[in-house]
């Protein structure tokens, strides 16, 4: 029993000090991965964009929220381009050209997404029609009403 406890403790200790098997690289981060732009207006622009770009490896986080190396590299690239005067939407388009709509969190109207926008409007319209029939039904809709 004691031996078993010792073994468990020892292996726990090993786990704690052992180097991680899946190590990321040890390179210094890209210049603007963790550093804000000097111009607060440009930094605000960059942050707004970064909050709506998906991290490619930790796919449920934005690159603004992620600690992943590639997210840092993406942040640095976004900040450098904004510092150089590029339009945030142009940077978004540049990434969409490479990774598809998936990389952007900004909802867009496209062939596959239009039902999402159309459905609420259609349902509202249906509700209005049904309610009208119900409330005016006594006189006008007598013939066709259910």
């Amino acid at each position: 029993m004691i031996r078993k406890t010792v073994l468990v403790l020892a292996s726990a200790g090993l786990l704690a000090v052992g180097t991680p098997l899946w190590a990321d690289d040890s390179m210094p981060p890209a210049p603007y991965a963790w550093r804000q732009l000097e111009d607060p207006a440009k930094e605000a622009k960059a942050r707004d964009l970064m909050a709506t770009l998906r991290c490619l490896v930790c796919q449920s986080q934005s690159i603004l929220d992620s600690d992943a190396q590639i997210a840092g590299d993406m942040r640095s690239q976004v900040r450098e381009r904004i510092a150089a005067g590029e339009d945030p939407e142009a940077i978004r388009q540049w990434l969409i050209q490479r990774y598809g709509d998936y990389v952007s969190y900004e909802p867009t109207l496209s062939a596959s997404t239009w039902p999402l926008f159309a459905a609420p409007a259609a349902l509202m319209l249906l509700a209005v029609v049904l309610l009208r029939r119900r409330f005016t039904g006594g006189s006008a809709g007598q013939g066709e009403n259910a």
């Binding site: 899946w22 690289d25 390179m27 490479r98 259910a146």
Partner: protein, 185 residues
């Protein structure tokens, strides 16, 4: 209301309409739940020319990689890898086999330290004719690669023709050779 005789009722089947719609919704949810999650992000650059880049050499004895090196009239492989990436270790012998078959392989080392890369190449062999150092993943982002390892087939004109996501397994060698052949046309 007394309704009844003069007021024609809606056909009986409409009674089942809400249930049917609900059933449809349930089917949609279940299909979404059961379908295995696919987290691969494919590059949308396939069929487009390589972006312009020029990377410095990442290792001694091998030059760096530039766009112009990849448009030489003959299809080549562009392998995105790193010494810190475990699947890349598994892939190294397979790349060696491809190189032995005469395939030209260009490497792009992502965020790699020179000494780590040298050890990696010493331990696992060097199938690369050129290795460029991409310290801030800029070329990786420019070609729409989302991770390591990934391998791109580039045709003789420098156009990206195929993307292989993940390590190339031994049984996928024929697939890569076939994609290289297709890129000749």
């Amino acid at each position: 209301m007394m309704a009844g005789d003069e007021k024609p009722r809606a056909p009986r089947w409409t009674l089942w309409l809400p249930l049917a719609l609900f059933g449809l919704f349930v089917v949609l949810v279940v299909v979404g739940l059961v379908r295995p999650k696919d987290t691969t992000i494919e590059s949308h650059m396939i069929g487009k020319p390589l972006p312009v880049f020029a990377l410095r050499a990442a290792a001694d004895g091998r030059p760096g990689v530039a766009t112009t090196d990849l448009a030489t009239g003959k299809p080549q492989l562009l392998n995105i890898f790193a010494s810190w990436c475990i699947p890349c270790r598994a892939e190294a012998p397979v790349l060696g086999e491809l190189a032995a078959k005469g395939v030209v392989i260009n490497g792009i080392a992502i965020r790699d330290r020179r000494e780590d890369l040298a050890t990696f190449l010493k331990d696992l062999g060097n199938p690369y004719q050129r290795i460029g150092a991409d310290d801030v993943s800029s070329v990786q982002l420019a070609i729409g690669s989302a991770g390591v390892p990934e391998t791109f087939v580039i045709d003789g004109k420098g156009v990206i023709r195929y993307q292989h996501i993940g390590d190339i397994r031994p049984d996928q060698i024929p697939l890569i050779l076939q994609k290289l052949k297709e890129a000749e046309q």
